[in-house]
């Protein structure tokens, strides 16, 4: 049956794969042949034949394909995304416009430094601005994402401890941490010691003291933690760690709660990373690119990755000759295009705007918490910062689980919260509205959630069968994992 038969809703159904459409000989690219076949200049035994199965489409066909695909996606500009610990705030348009200036987008990283002074100035200033916001002494912009920032930060810690005496063996990570924390620790050659949070959802200094010894290199903490709770004891905890010669690492994923409210640098933190695609508004892009700058206290400066940008007689120079440096963690200068967007965001908001952003993020989260606490069980009664965590405990009585609530939300036109994370909360629903949402949308979301809570009680099967209105229904993930089909292949004759 043709895709164009009556009754096929092209706006809501997936197009065929690019490999399944088109026609031999078609291309969306025009370039006349140039003198001499290029191939002749390379020995023929090094050349391939045509790429079998490669697409052959016209330009309009290509655009229709991807435009139709785009209609199958949720996105910030069409829907509210209350994803906890992801900070899905509005991605300002002006950032996109300036990042596309040829003076940024068409720069070559190996051009002589004197020909990229504007770029180096931007990077230098961004380092300083991020240092000021986080209360750290120095910042490197090289890491390509938060997880690479974590790895870089841990490498800095390892290099520092190695210089002091030995790099030590262990990293302490709370049970509420992002999965990247333990994964980065392993990659840096450390063993992970997990500690549990208290029944108030916080790490306790006494608990840290129990496992803190001369073999522990660092404690990794997220503040506010992934429950949206401020780790009040952080200064006391830092003291426990420092006393035994360890360092304190802060996962800055939740910095959006802290601007103008508390600086990590004042909390006893020695190293932190910042996710620019969260707090500093750069687009998520469906899973990257991001950027994960790392900030350190002054005693760790010499261990930062190279190259470092220094200001000398009014111009900017690149230096690689730091003997103690951990080395290079990414090619060139990191995700420069993302750094440009974050820079534009910071100068757009300025001090006042950044501080207001965090305040409104807290206001929105606390407002939603209040509106939902009747119908859903809060995981912890502690005051929340920029996000709050509920559970499906009340709905479980009717056989309705967090996954069902999440899928039912799709029918109401909302992206679900982060679900089943943090792992310490059974059936977690983690909600982070961000500051860029208005009161009306928060009300509408709360109404949807409360209505689903009613449905769970009165028509549990309705909730368990959701979603009903999405382009595809619940997908068979077990089938995908049992017999992985990871690429298209031409049909066998």
């Amino acid at each position: 049956m043709s895709e164009h038969s009556p009754g096929t809703d092209l706006r809501r159904s997936a197009p065929p794969l690019i490999f399944e459409s088109g026609s031999p000989g078609r291309s969306g690219f025009f370039w006349p042949e140039e003198k001499g076949e290029g191939g002749e200049k390379i020995p023929s035994e090094l050349l391939r034949d045509d790429i079998p199965g490669f697409p052959e489409l016209g330009e309009l066909e290509v655009l229709r394909h991807f435009t139709r695909l785009s209609h199958l996606n949720y996105a910030i500009e069409s829907q509210f995304y209350p994803l906890g610990s992801c900070t899905m705030k509005y991605n300002p348009k002006v950032n996109e416009v300036v990042a596309r200036l040829p003076g940024f987008s068409s720069l070559h990283p190996l051009a002589p430094p004197e020909l990229i002074q504007g770029a180096l100035e931007l990077l230098y200033e961004l380092e300083e601005m991020l240092a000021e916001i986080s209360g750290m002494a120095h910042v490197t912009l090289q890491p390509a994402a938060g997880a690479q920032g974590e790895l870089t930060g841990l490498m800095v810690i390892r290099a520092c401890l190695r210089e002091r005496s030995n790099p030590r063996r262990k990293i302490i990570v709370p049970d509420t941490a992002h999965g990247t924390n333990p994964a980065s620790s392993t990659l840096c050659g450390y063993e992970v010691v997990q500690i549990s949070s208290s029944n108030r959802g916080m790490v306790e200094a006494a608990k840290v003291a129990e496992v803190m010894d001369e073999e522990v290199a660092a404690l990794m903490l997220t503040n506010p933690n992934t429950l949206g709770i401020f780790e009040k004891n952080i200064q006391e905890i830092a003291e426990v760690v420092h006393k035994k010669g360890g360092l304190v690492y802060l996962d800055g994923a939740n910095l959006n709660a802290l601007m103008g409210i508390a600086k990590p640098g004042d909390m006893g933190v020695d190293v932190l990373h910042i996710n620019l695609h969260k707090t500093f508004s750069t687009p998520h892009g469906g899973g990257g690119p991001g950027a994960g700058p790392v900030g350190v206290k002054s005693f760790l400066r010499d261990f930062l990755p190279v190259p470092r940008i220094l200001k000398k007689d009014g111009s900017f120079v690149l230096r690689e000759d730091f003997a103690k440096s951990v080395g290079r963690v990414r090619s060139f200068f990191g995700n420069f295009g993302i750094l440009v967007r974050a820079y534009a965001y910071i100068i757009s908001l300025g001090s006042d705007g950044l501080e207001e952003a965090s305040r409104m993020a807290l206001l929105n989260a606390n407002y939603l918490r209040k509106k939902l606490e009747g119908a859903y069980q809060l995981a912890y009664p502690e005051p929340c910062m920029h996000e709050c965590v509920f559970t499906d405990r009340l709905q479980q009585r009717h056989g309705v689980a967090t996954l069902d609530i999440a899928k039912r939300l799709l029918d109401y036109g909302f992206h679900p919260p982060t679900i089943y994370f943090p792992l310490v909360v059974s059936g977690a629903l983690m909600i982070e509205p961000t500051e860029t949402e208005n009161r009306e949308i928060l009300d509408a979301f709360a109404d949807a959630m409360n209505s689903i809570a009613r449905e769970a009680k009165e028509h549990p099967d309705l909730v368990k069968g959701a979603p009903y209105t999405t382009p595809v229904g619940r997908l068979d993930e077990a089938r995908a994992a049992r017999k992985p089909v990871l690429r298209w292949e031409p049909a066998k004759e």
């Binding site: 997936a14 969306g28 994964a183 103008g260 100068i347």
Partner: protein, 449 residues
């Protein structure tokens, strides 16, 4: 305030709902000692007009190919990008969407990922591809870490060719530094500018974990892979190729056809702006039997309850959010939007367009190299075949700097900072963006006319 829609009355009503009267009460549980030092001392916010002015002023201090003639490659390439690419990746449905953990409302991203994986497999001739990594350098490091997971503990020696991109080698050494059982060995290059096969044949033994070579390598040379593959097969080492200019694979026999076990690289040249070297994306392809050891995300095909085809993120148990300290990698992004750009780029050019563009690169680069040798008297540093980059020796390179600056030409990348043995050597890259007139001026300026 910018981007926060709260009016005074919104704030008041919301606070009342919460049961508070002042915003500050929302965080009065935070220690006073922290709060009193928290003020941010930066400039005040700017209007959009002023933001654009400031950004334009910074941008104006940089040299772009609009004002300058670039002959720069070395891992980042200046190529024509069809307008379809930015049109698609600018769509907010792609750019402002989240990682597709909720497949019912992410089929756009997921299907594009699946198409990307297929395209990368076709281009590299490999069996499976992930959805993308940060960049070519970290993809190289991840390839070595994957080889480490696959190989037994008796194989912990990593052979990396000196003709591999120096920054990639630097990143690899950073990543491996803290894994104390793993040793890095550098393979020298020969007169062709390729990996020294005799050295390999001699040194690669039953302790070898993997052998890593550039294809084409940092000197632009199309490496002879058959002897390297043989050395790997004989000793049981895994054969890893790294490609920084994947456009070349539209024309060259791909890594898969040479028997590579893992083929990685940087994808920027496939439709992503140079952007000072980032963001681009790392690509990562390998044999199917290694799929459980693969780092990064994977999209896979499945069906919904009505039997409709759909795509999901799959084999997630490899990843950090489930396996934590035992994950195959700590990575949790896939540079998705850049990978999408590459998908649109390859779909637009298609089978014939990719080949044509690769041929034009070969044609112009060889033409320019010939002229520089014949008319400007420069000497080729190596004899191996090349794609769109080549190394020339030019005595007095340093002295001619000002001449090039006056002509607004950046003639290439001096290699001496990374290779002291290659004094006076310049890595010159010529793509379809370098018109004949530019090449004329390059030749003239080198000749000193």
């Amino acid at each position: 305030m910018r981007y926060t829609p709260h009016t005074a009355s919104d704030k008041e009503q919301m606070l009342r709902t919460i049961g508070l009267s002042r915003i500050e009460q929302l965080f009065d549980h935070i220690p006073q000692s922290l709060r009193e030092r928290a003020a941010i001392s930066l400039a005040s916010g700017l209007t959009e007009v002023k933001v654009k002015k400031r950004m334009a002023a910074l941008a104006a201090k940089n040299a772009t190919p609009e004002g300058w003639s670039f002959f720069l490659g070395g891992g980042i390439y200046h190529h024509a990008i069809p307008s379809t690419v930015d049109a698609v990746i600018s769509r907010s449905e792609f750019s402002t969407s989240y990682t597709p953990y909720q497949p019912e409302v992410s089929q756009g991203t997921l299907q594009a990922m699946y198409e990307f994986q297929t395209l990368m497999c076709q281009l590299t001739g490999m069996e499976v591809s992930n959805a993308g990594l940060y960049d070519g350098a970290s993809a190289t490091a991840e390839a070595i870490l994957m080889a480490r997971r696959i190989q037994s503990e008796s194989r912990r020696r990593v052979f990396v060719s000196r003709s591999l991109h120096p920054q990639y080698r630097a990143v690899v050494s950073t990543y491996l530094r803290n894994l104390e059982d793993t040793e890095l060995v550098e393979i020298p290059f020969d007169r062709n500018g390729g990996t020294d096969a005799e050295f390999l044949a001699r040194e690669v033994d039953e302790k070898a974990m993997c052998v890593v070579v550039g294809y084409p390598n940092f000197f632009g040379v199309i490496e002879e892979l058959a002897p390297i593959q043989e050395a790997c097969a004989r000793s049981g080492a895994l054969f890893v190729t790294v490609t920084t200019e994947p456009l070349s694979l539209a024309l060259l026999k791909p890594p898969g056809a040479w028997g590579a076990d893992i083929a990685v690289g940087e994808g920027q040249s496939l439709g992503v702006p140079m952007s000072l070297g980032g963001p681009g994306f790392g690509f990562f392809t390998c044999r199917k039997k290694f799929v459980r050891s693969l780092p990064g995300r994977l999209a896979g095909e499945t069906v919904d309850h009505e039997g409709r085809r759909g795509f999901v993120l799959t084999l997630s148990t490899r990843e950090q959010h489930i396996r934590r300290e035992k994950a195959t990698s700590n990575i949790c992004t896939s540079q998705t939007l850049c990978a999408l750009a590459a998908t649109v780029f390859m779909a637009t050019l298609g089978k014939s367009g990719m080949r044509r563009l690769a041929e034009v690169n070969v044609c112009r680069a060889h033409d320019a190299q010939g002229r520089l040798v014949k008319d400007a008297g420069l000497a080729p540093a190596f004899t191996g075949p090349f794609f769109n980059e080549f190394v020339l020796r030019s005595k007095g390179l340093a002295r001619s700097q000002s001449r090039f600056a006056a002509e607004k030409i950046i003639p290439g990348i001096p290699l001496a900072p990374w290779y002291p043995e290659l004094q006076d050597c310049l890595l010159v890259c010529v793509t379809e963006m370098n018109e004949g007139e530019e090449i004329e001026r390059l030749v003239r300026t080198f000749s000193g006319d």
